[in-house]
């Protein structure tokens, strides 16, 4: 599912393998040095903890591939969550959730149109929506909304065997999303646009429409993440999701995506998500004190990308 260079298979496999190795090393270290890492409970935690960042990272990757960026995802998570929770009193739960996801699609669409149709810088457009959508979440409801119906919790807490349903949804997004980017004309166009938009335009492909599509996918993912998060926490807060965009972008870039566009892989982005979630989990399991956790988290991220770089160079 490497997006950039589908054909340079052997080289790509090497990089992926090296990255995989890194993750395996982290897992092995965790399993050997802590008692609790390999427990069923902890693995379930891990699976749950990767849902939000995973969904956001996939949407972010699609936007980054076009050479853009979407800073608004954290705010969209808050908006879609609180909207859904607010609607539960008047709509059936699945319908309320659908509306929440659709609101994310809507914000993505607006971002996309401003970037593609009006040629505005993605960073400023989505920074502005970060602010505006957050404001709208508070305008919709200043106070958190906690639906009473326990069915509201289902999406976020139901298990399918050993695996949380929400994690399965995220896996599905990565699978379908991987196929989208590697095996559909629209997906390939998105990747190509980030490489050289003018060439893509000359090939008769509607660049604007594909850029809009990319932001819409990101909005969709953020909307979905917001609904799942509200369901998981059981309460929707308008203040949730601050700085989520940074983790999502970090996952993509740790996975080797280039913010200049045209370069990035679905599989490696998933690896990036894993790395970030593992770091948090391990620091918790080791009982590292909070502020030192932050210090270490940054250092580990640097170490990871340094290790990756070495692998790249060798591969």
């Amino acid at each position: 599912m490497s997006v950039n260079a589908l054909p340079k298979i052997s080289r790509d496999l090497l990089v992926t393998a090296a990255f995989g190795l890194l993750i395996v090393v982290m897992v092995v270290v965790a399993a050997v040095t802590t008692e609790s890492f390999l427990t069923q409970a902890n693995l379930t935690n891990l699976l749950k903890q990767m849902v939000t960042i995973g969904l956001l990272a996939y949407g972010m990757l699609v936007v980054i591939l076009t050479g853009g960026i979407d800073l608004s995802v954290g705010s969209v998570v808050a908006f879609s969550g609180i909207l859904t929770a607010g609607l539960v009193s008047s709509l059936p739960i699945p319908a309320a959730m659908a509306v929440g996801v659709v609101s994310g699609i809507g914000f993505g669409l607006v971002n996309g149109v401003l970037v593609a149709r009006f040629g505005l810088a993605p960073f400023v457009v989505t920074l502005a929506s970060l602010t505006t959508v957050r404001g709208l979440a508070f305008v919709y409801s200043e106070v958190p909304i906690a639906p009473e119906d326990p069915a509201f919790f289902t999406l976020g807490s139901a298990m399918a065997g050993p695996i949380p349903v929400s994690t399965l949804i995220m896996f599905a997004v990565f699978l379908v999303g991987g196929v989208f980017l590697t095996r559909t004309p629209a997906g390939r166009s998105i990747v190509a646009i980030g490489g050289n938009a003018e060439t893509v335009r000359l090939a008769g492909i509607n660049v604007r429409r594909h850029v809009v599509l990319a932001y819409t996918v990101s909005g969709l993912c953020a909307g979905l993440a917001g609904v799942i998060l509200a369901s998981r926490v059981g309460i929707a807060q308008p203040s949730v999701g601050v700085a989520f965009e940074l983790d999502a972008i970090a996952a993509c870039v740790i996975g080797g995506a280039s913010l200049a566009g045209g370069k990035g892989s679905v599989r490696a982005t998933f690896g990036g998500v894993l790395v970030l979630v593992l770091i948090n989990n391990l620091l918790n399991l080791y009982g590292v004190q909070s502020f030192w956790q932050q210090v270490l988290k940054g250092l580990i991220i640097i170490a990871v990308i340094l290790a990756q770089r070495t692998n790249r160079v060798r591969a």
Binding site: S36, T39, A41, N42, T44, N45, K48, Q49, T52, F138, S141, E142, V143, P144, A146, F153, G156, S157, L229, R232, V233, G234, I235, Q237, P238, S239, V240, V242, F244, N280, N281, N284, L285, G287, Q289, S290, F291, Q293, Q294
Partner: protein, 304 residues
């Protein structure tokens, strides 16, 4: 200790492990709370603390609690900070059959075992009453809020002040349109904006001391220290000092993280020990601190 089964007794021998789930530590009050819990555990001797920080992310709080339950802690203390509620977290703790003690923040929904914290509205009322006596001629009172009303703690404090002052026609209340975000830098800029539009402010109330300290600088820079008095909440060390020094910082309501944290830990141990009839909700009194009594609350070893 008297437990129904033999299990609690064996645990008592080897001590307890108590998990602390902080919603966010990046605020002196919250980190003070975390330290107070740890200090009390140290004092007890047989209690081990595992502390986590969700960095203000509700999903991460859920994950952290799950991590704690993974480590099989005996009880969980949640310092929910500005988080209004976390039903799923409470559910998962309940499902694991562990007691949960809330400190400072009482969640609006979900089942918990016990809560220990202040009565924020009472603190606000206390401030309102102080201001109404200190300003017999009344006047304009500015209110600086920390953040949106999804944090009901601040709202309760402001409502307390309002309940007193808006009943009195001598007073006009001006609420700053912008939030101070609970920090001194935010308090400073919000106060600067307020002073640009309202020169005739007589007093300012902030939802916490940190913002008051910033507001005090803005007032000093504008050369209005003689004309505007300040009322805050929390009992932050710098605020106590300013009050004691006789500046225009006149009053705060003590919201003592040390006491609440210590009591929270005690409560958890009490429950684990199987004590019957533990109190469900405990309000820790928040005495009004003025120049007269500030010295007695100053605590050089305090964590906050």
């Amino acid at each position: 200790s008297s437990g129904g089964s033999a299990e609690p007794a064996t645990q008592a021998d080897s001590g307890y492990t108590i998990g602390v789930a902080n919603f966010m530590l990046s605020g002196p009050y919250f980190s003070g709370m975390d330290k107070a819990i740890a200090a009390q555990a140290q004092k007890k001797g047989n209690v081990e603390i595992i502390s986590t920080d969700a960095n203000g992310d509700a999903a991460k709080l859920a994950g952290n609690v799950e991590d704690l339950l993974t480590k099989n802690v005996d009880a969980v203390i949640i310092s929910g900070g500005p988080l209004e509620s976390a039903p799923a977290v409470l559910n998962s703790i309940k499902a694991a059959g562990k007691p949960v003690v809330l400190v400072d923040r009482k969640f609006q929904t979900g089942e918990y075992t016990s809560w220990i914290g202040p009565d924020n509205e009472a603190i606000g009322r206390q401030n309102g009453e102080y201001l109404s006596t200190a300003l017999p001629d009344g006047g304009k009172v500015a209110i600086i809020k920390g953040g949106p009303a999804d944090n009901s703690i601040g709202l309760a404090r402001t409502n307390g002040v309002k309940s007193v002052l808006s009943a009195d026609s001598k007073f006009t209340l001006v609420e700053a349109p912008d939030f101070g975000n609970w920090g001194s830098d935010g308090g400073l800029t919000v106060m600067e904006s307020l002073l640009a539009t309202n020169k005739d402010i007589k007093a300012v109330f902030c939802e916490n001391d940190a913002m008051c300290l910033g507001a005090q600088r803005a007032i000093a820079d504008a050369g209005l220290s003689d004309g505007i008095i300040i009322a805050g909440v929390d009992g932050q060390a710098e605020a106590l000092k300013a009050i004691l020094d006789g500046t225009n910082y006149k009053v705060t309501g003590l919201n003592d993280a040390d006491i609440i944290g210590a009591k929270g830990l005690d409560r958890a141990v009490e429950i684990l020990g199987g004590a019957a009839n533990v109190e469900k909700d405990t309000v820790v009194p928040s005495p009004m601190v003025t120049k007269d009594n500030a010295a007695q609350f100053q605590n050089p070893d305090g964590s906050f």
